[in-house]
Symmetry: C2
Subunit: 336 residues, 2 copies
């Protein structure tokens, strides 16, 4: 593989000249246009590419960012997380950054000299916090969930969007005539969220209607939805149910089917977070959709933008907006 020296000698200039031509704009290199062309020609001729390790050793920049995924198998088991990772990778790669994955089995803490920055995508178990903090002391680290000293916190205010979306969903379900609605919120480690419930209650108050709201909360991360079984057993059944996401909605629909209830004829099912592109299980789900590509792409963009400069306290990413997508799984309640 050709080196800088090869290019230099072959084009009759010094190594410095070649290096400068390669990393500065046409005007900014201290080299005559003519020399520049000659050098560039030789570079192409030889198929020269700067040795990234050598460059990094010198510049202390690796153009590599680390993604902390904790226990990789459980992280990747959830499709939303796998997709998030894919999007972050794509964006980074587009911007010329490499991505390395880091699980939580680090013998020592990861070496900051290998990374320009690092994004922590999971809750970090308390045992690992110190490791990440040590890393954050050396390079920019961004954390999505865990609060880590020295790390940049991601602020997304998804709540506002979710609330807005849920209000839209509520208005729509109420509009169809539903008055007995089961709904599921996310049960976080620190306690259940009540955003969805609140939005439904709020809209009801505003419209002066008195729906019966049957509230549940489930852990999203683990993809085990015990409450779906409970909702399916309600007697009388709700006329509509608001599921956490498509996974939940499908589980619920299956539970309802076992009891002989059909969707949407007997019960309407609304997915609180639906994806256009997920695989086809009938009925097609009505619910709130959003395009997360932009959101995660933006996060990565901001993070990389931040790498050269002095670290910020937080990165504010505009959260993706939910839109109501009407497909098949909701209908007016059956007159009983």
């Amino acid at each position: 593989m050709p080196t800088l020296a090869d290019v230099a000698s072959r084009s009759g200039v010094s190594k410095g000249a070649v290096s400068s031509v390669l990393r500065n704009a046409p005007g900014q290199d201290g080299v005559s246009a003519e020399t520049r062309q000659r050098i560039l020609h030789v570079v192409r001729e030889l198929g020269y590419r700067p040795h990234p390790l050598a460059a990094s050793l010198r510049t202390r920049r690796t153009r590599t960012i680390g993604l902390v995924v904790g226990e990789p198998e459980s992280f990747l088991r959830h499709p939303n997380q796998a997709l998030m990772m894919g999007r972050l990778l794509k964006q980074a790669s587009e911007m010329g950054y490499r991505v390395t994955l880091m699980d939580d089995a680090w013998q020592d803490s990861p070496d900051p000299r290998l990374l320009d920055g690092c994004a922590v995508l999971t809750w970090v178990p308390s045992a690992g916090i110190a490791q990440v903090e040590r890393l954050a002391a050396e390079i920019p680290v961004v954390s999505l969930y865990s609060r880590i000293r020295g790390a940049v916190q991601v602020v997304m205010d998804e709540g506002t969007m979710l609330r807005r979306g849920m209000r839209e969903g509520a208005a729509w379900l109420y509009g169809l005539g539903h008055r007995r609605i089961a709904l599921v919120d996310v049960n976080h480690p620190k306690g259940p969220d009540t955003l969805r419930k609140d939005a439904f209650a709020e809209v009801a108050r505003e419209q002066g209607i008195l729906p019966e709201l049957l509230c549940y909360a489930d852990r999203w991360q683990e993809r085990l939805y015990p409450t779906a079984a409970e909702i399916a057993q309600l007697d009388p059944p709700p006329t509509a149910a608001v599921a956490l996401d498509d996974d939940y909605a499908r589980a619920l629909i299956a539970h309802l089917a076992r009891r002989g209830l059909r969707v949407p004829e007997d019960v309407s099912v609304f997915s609180g977070n639906t994806q256009q592109d997920s695989f086809q299980t009938p009925p097609a789900l009505t619910g709130l959709a959003r395009d997360l590509t932009a959101q995660w792409g933006e996060l990565m963009r901001r993070f990389i933008g931040l790498l050269g400069n002095d670290p910020a306290e937080e990165i504010v990413v505009p959260p993706a907006e939910f839109t109501l997508v009407v497909r098949e799984s909701c209908a007016p309640p059956r007159a009983r």
Copy 2:
């Protein structure tokens, strides 16, 4: 961050001595036991860690392996692939290797100087083949699916296992009394597979029974299963259906439910590749299960083992065995 020179001066020896102590076994370094102890003490005291970039520049080994995932979002969308990646990562990490992800948007081909080896996890589009071949000329590359010149091919003979598993499934379904069975094979780009069908036909011949086998083939990779809808519309319905995997089985069950058919009361559904740990949608699926952790771990282990030595032609990985897991989704056919 302390350097080798710091350690050397502080322990009153040369850099060479320190380096040797750090990378050779207690007897093998050319250093007295006493000096060794002193050096090691200073290393710990200073928290010294060799600079990986500097070491790599010298040794030409990076302890990093690349994973080619093609278009990351579509690759990671399929849970089996995401899980495979997680397992490979875990194994690599356990063996002290870092993993970097490579999508197909490489401006140039990936730089072989950054990688000790590379595993290609996807079908490589023809446009990318040349890039990968160039890489394979420099470092060991292993390819799971695409045949790539210069790359090590993975040989897994999953067919034998699948056939064996399917025979077991066939015997069991026949034993329950099913004689009208829909079954789905995988439709590869190069044409449909007939393994599942063949196994069922074979067992029927051996047992001297004459089942009605309704055969379909679908693309597995894309998670869009048009044949599930077709099977659900069969009239009369099959008494049992063998699905590709859990995804397919759930889609099929949903289609059947829309038609008013219940599983397993009206139709038995058998998952050709079920996971114990996937999320809970009733009915729990009966089918063939296997633990892929060992298989993918073994692949990574062999590949890494191969890195130092001269490249092999192929890596033979013992495929995981299928076992029949009986849960709820199959029952004897209803007397009509």
